[in-house]
């Protein structure tokens, strides 16, 4: 049965090999240049806080370079790989046999349906996981300079922190879970709908919905978030913005947390001394740092004063920044939990397929 499974999986194997080879060529051709650009900026020998400025410069300059294209392209391929596998490997696995009538041939050899499905799921599922994870590892290797610069720098531009949606879903072990789940989802949809093309559509819809729902609603709650309140003056990154007539309301977001590099900030906002959320600018600060006429929209600060004076005024009126976040140290715990969720879903779907297959014809 294994040999038969391999024979039927021939085209998929060739497709996977060609994709992996093309991906490897793309990354191998650009990787050394990226590394040398990293070295040319002196980043390969610098460590710690001294690197902040060159690392930030490096990540900012990347956004305008061809490496950004390679980075986004390869990230896109890794994100799409599980969906493509679910559609083209998973959905036809049972549905195509039923549609073409070859199920009657396959299930009337001296092999039970259970064994037939077990072998097919094992070959398809393990290949799907191996291919996706290999893509991910290749890109992780390629992006080492970027990841390092992001960790050392202020982390903006094309290259986000490890917890960002793009990076979390394409690095580490999550691609294993996505690939296994998407494949099992395709097989299940095919077994239920019994026609390949509708099964593909349903697979895509469910997988896409889950990939959106997961980072929005599930992942932030995989562990209770930590909370901290820090002085507004210690916020890095973008400054405050003032809105409303006369600049009477303002907002202030945290992009990083001092002492917590790489933390995943879930929410942030200014609070008053009592710990309540505030958005109304203290009266004393409305004209501080703002431009002539009060700056009705956005960042309109007097020359020479800038946002720092405004933030200083907010701080002197007892306003601090409240942040909920997941510390960077939880990265692997989150990776493992999310992967386990997807693998468990994949196993449950596979189990359902075994039950369903007994009643199919």
């Amino acid at each position: 049965m294994i040999r038969f499974g391999m024979l039927q999986f021939r085209i998929q194997t060739i497709t996977a090999a060609v994709t992996l080879a093309a991906f490897a060529v793309l990354l191998a051709a650009t990787g050394p240049h990226l590394a040398s650009a990293y070295a040319a900026d002196g980043l390969d020998i610098c460590h710690g806080s001294g690197c902040l400025s060159p690392a930030t410069y490096f990540t900012a300059s990347l956004a305008r370079s061809p490496y950004a294209v390679v980075f986004l392209l390869s990230t896109g391929i890794i994100l799409l790989a599980p969906a493509v596998i679910g559609l083209f490997w998973g959905a036809p696995l049972i549905a195509r046999e039923l549609e073409t009538g070859t199920a009657a041939l396959a299930w009337n050899q001296s092999v039970t349906r259970t064994r037939w499905l077990a072998v097919k799921l094992a070959i398809g599922g393990l290949t799907a996981m191996a291919v996706t994870e290999t893509l991910s590892l290749m890109q992780t290797w390629w992006a080492v300079p970027i990841s390092q610069a992001v960790a050392d720098g202020s982390g903006a531009g094309v290259a986000q922190s490890r917890f960002s949606q793009l990076n979390f879903a394409t690095h580490g072990i999550t691609p294993l879970g996505y690939a296994a789940f998407a494949f099992a989802l395709g097989v299940t949809a095919g077994a239920l709908i019994r026609r390949t093309v509708p099964a593909m559509a349903v697979t895509l819809a469910i997988f896409a919905a889950l990939q959106v729902a997961m980072p929005l609603w599930v992942r932030p709650n995989l562990a209770p978030p930590d909370r901290t309140v820090i002085p507004v003056t210690s916020l890095g990154g973008a400054g405050p913005s003032q809105t409303g007539p006369g600049g009477d309301t303002f907002s202030l977001y945290a992009l990083t947390i001092p002492g917590q590099p790489g933390a995943w900030i879930l929410s942030s906002g200014p609070v008053n001394a009592a710990g309540r959320r505030v958005s109304t600018t203290p009266a004393a600060c409305t004209s501080v740092g703002t431009g002539p006429g009060g700056g009705p929209q956005g960042n309109a600060f007097l020359p020479g004063q800038g946002p720092a004076a405004f933030v200083g005024c907010l701080a002197s009126h007892g306003i601090r920044e409240a942040i909920t976040y997941q510390p960077a140290s939880r990265y692997w715990r989150f990776q493992a939990t999310e992967t386990a969720i997807y693998l468990a879903l994949a196993l449950a779907l596979a189990g359902y397929c075994f039950r369903r297959l007994r009643r199919l014809s």
């Binding site: 038969f4 024979l7 009337n108 001296s110 092999v111 039970t112």
Partner: protein, 298 residues
């Protein structure tokens, strides 16, 4: 008599309709059995239940004494060629023989190669580019080469032209003669069955109307024609299957184990086709409305 297929109260329901309902039958071993009946009689459903492609909604079915597709050993004992004789379009003829060898411990590679050679199929040709007849032959080869004790064929020749049909049935007969296996073959083309079957089962609306060895059936059925008379006046032991009357004449198809002695009748033998058609058009006990309708028509 050991039954290759034994069904009791067998039923299969799809959502709201019954494809097969309360079917009880026993098909003996060692025969080439023709399963005949009109479209919708439940032939395909019955054969799919017999191969385990379907699970029964009600009742039981055993094949060679076991539940269909109960395990690898049971699967190895039954060969099946489905109605559409589907094969893997992308795989070559040789690939099919390879997968047959991989998946069946009892695979007879010599037989498979010999048949492919006789059929002049190119082993390197993709199955998707074979003609309908060649595809059916390939599917039959795969079912035969696993050396089953029972071969089940669901309308295998329905889509073939007359020549391909004859070749297919000839190939089947040759193998049956060599391998001593039981065959159950469904068809609504009685002429095909006449050539190959020595046992016939007529299935109408899930019910067995008549079953028996072809030679026995032909010997015990007669067409009687003579002056018009009431069929109720026939002696006991003569069962009327169909009757038709004109003003002066009566024509009957009767079943009797003894000879027809009444000199008023002209007695003629019946063909298998006549016999099968007679039973197919005969009203069943479960269809009073139909009986009335047929009574008017005949």
């Amino acid at each position: 008599m050991n039954a290759v297929i034994a069904a009791s109260g067998l039923g299969k329901q799809y959502r709201h309709t019954w494809a097969l309902r309360d079917c009880t039958l026993a098909i003996p071993e060692g025969h080439v059995v023709g399963l005949v009946g009109p479209n919708g009689a439940g032939k395909t459903t019955l054969l799919c239940l017999a191969t385990g492609m379907l699970a029964p909604t009600r009742g039981t079915i055993t094949v060679l004494g076991e539940r269909p597709a109960a395990g690898p050993a049971q699967l190895a004992r039954v060969g099946f060629v489905a109605q559409d004789t589907a094969v893997y379009a992308r795989l070559t003829v040789a690939d099919h023989l390879r997968l047959g060898a991989w998946l069946n411990p009892g695979w007879d590679d010599d037989l498979a190669r010999q048949r492919i050679g006789q059929l002049a199929l190119d082993p390197k040709q993709r199955a998707g580019s074979l003609s309908g007849g060649q595809r059916a032959q390939l599917a039959l080869t795969m079912a035969m080469a696993k050396r089953p004790e029972l071969l089940i064929l669901d309308e295998p020749v329905a889509s073939l032209d007359p020549l391909a049909r004859r070749e297919f049935l000839q190939g089947l007969m040759e193998t049956v003669a060599e391998q001593r296996l039981s065959v159950v073959l469904s068809s609504h083309l009685v002429a095909d069955l006449e050539r190959v079957c020595d046992y016939v089962v007529v299935l109408v609306a899930s019910r067995v109307r008549v079953a028996g060895e072809v030679s026995d059936l032909l010997a015990s059925h007669h067409r009687l024609s003579g002056p018009r008379r009431d069929p109720g006046s026939l002696p006991a032991g003569q069962e009327v299957i169909t009757e038709s009357h004109t003003d002066k004449q009566t024509s009957l198809l009767v079943r009797t184990d003894g000879p027809v002695l009444d000199p008023a009748w002209a007695v003629k033998p019946v063909s298998l086709e006549d016999l099968v058609l007679a039973y197919m058009s005969r009203a069943g006990d479960d269809a009073p409305a139909r009986r009335q309708h047929l009574g008017v028509a005949s």
